[in-house]
């Protein structure tokens, strides 16, 4: 256990455009909630919906 390090977990949000199905991964922001509208799609005029929220270990 001497060499075990506490892993740093970063929360991410996956947004998916309901029109063009493009997915975008960004860091989780306070207030993000699954299945809610998030932002304007960067590649079309659609609105993105939060598809997934998860934690990933920080790459060292």
């Amino acid at each position: 256990m001497i060499f075990s390090k506490e892993k740093i977990i970063i929360a991410y949000t996956i947004e998916k455009c309901s029109k063009c199905d493009i997915q975008n991964k960004r860091e989780f922001i306070d207030g993000d909630c699954l299945f809610t509208e998030s932002s304007k799609c960067s590649s079309c005029d659609g609105i993105t919906v939060i598809e997934k929220i998860f934690g990933e270990e920080l790459d060292s």
């Binding site: 929360a11 909630c33 299945f35 929220i53 998860f54």
Partner: protein
Amino acid sequence: MNDDTNPLMMLIWILPIVLFVFYGQRIQLYVTSGEIKKAIKKLDGFKDESRIELIDYVNKNLKLDNDPTKKIDKFLEYFTIMPVDMDPNGIVDKVRHTVRMREDYTLEHIKLLSPQINNLELTKVQTLLEIASSLQMIHKIVNHMFLTAKKQNNYPLILPLQMILPFIMEQAKAMSKSIPAFKIGQPVGDGIGPMVVGKMMLNCDKERIAFQTVLAKTEFDGRKLFLIKAEGPGSTVGRPAEALEKIVSDSNIDAIIMVDAALKMEGEDSASIACGFGAAIGGIGTERFQIEEIATHKNIPVFSIVVKQSVTEAITLMTKPIAEKSDDVTSQIYEMIQENTTSGQSLVIIGVGNTSGVPQ
């Protein structure tokens, strides 16, 4: 004179043997005590951190006029006496009554702290309170067992504690690590069931069917689907058994499918999906009992889909592999519906688990 007949060498050999014969247990007690003391210190830290986090959260989010510390400390000391099980007849109803009484009491008293509190904050405070009081209880019990063994200088008494301590520490560490996710309202690993069913509920009309539990009706391939999950995005598991009972009393149900997170065995892959039979639902057992009773009484087959995960994964922020399995689970549900029912039949699909951060 060689080493075998040297009296000094003989003494060097014999002394430790004599020492270990008479004081072996005491020496072991001292060695083990050191390890257990370290664990108790950690548990004490978890307990204090969770209490501070809870008080901070209440102060920041509930905007109270008075300092809630005293009231919170009183809550943390509450205990639950489980019913006598010498005569097991009717024990489930008694356990359910006791547990619900505690739940209702906690909710009412959080509301008294802040009458304007909304349901989302209410469930968050309730969960944080449960975590803090569980960590307090774990610390108390481990400390008691350790001090009793030390007081009596009784090594065998410390052995069961030493054996079970790694498991207790894993649970306590997981609980302590789960606090940020519940505070922010992020989905946890246990929320995979509600996440899958919640997604199926999108664009459907929803109604509250039981306490903190929602129902949506939809259709798939000629089958009528009754979708049940805890009411999100608050941190609650709802009352799926009560919801099922209401549905079954009004409609003819041909199958029940339950989607839940399950503890993986050592060596099993995290986020692996498994299908099976029987009611997949954890907790104290009262919900499972009620679901099994209904299914048996009405002769309804119960199928389950579980996503395997560790204790820590189940109550901390959902990991990427688990989140990525949600679409696979949905496909398996549809596959299961087609394989086990025919057009025109009705099914209940229950998303079991904590719905923190998962609306519908």
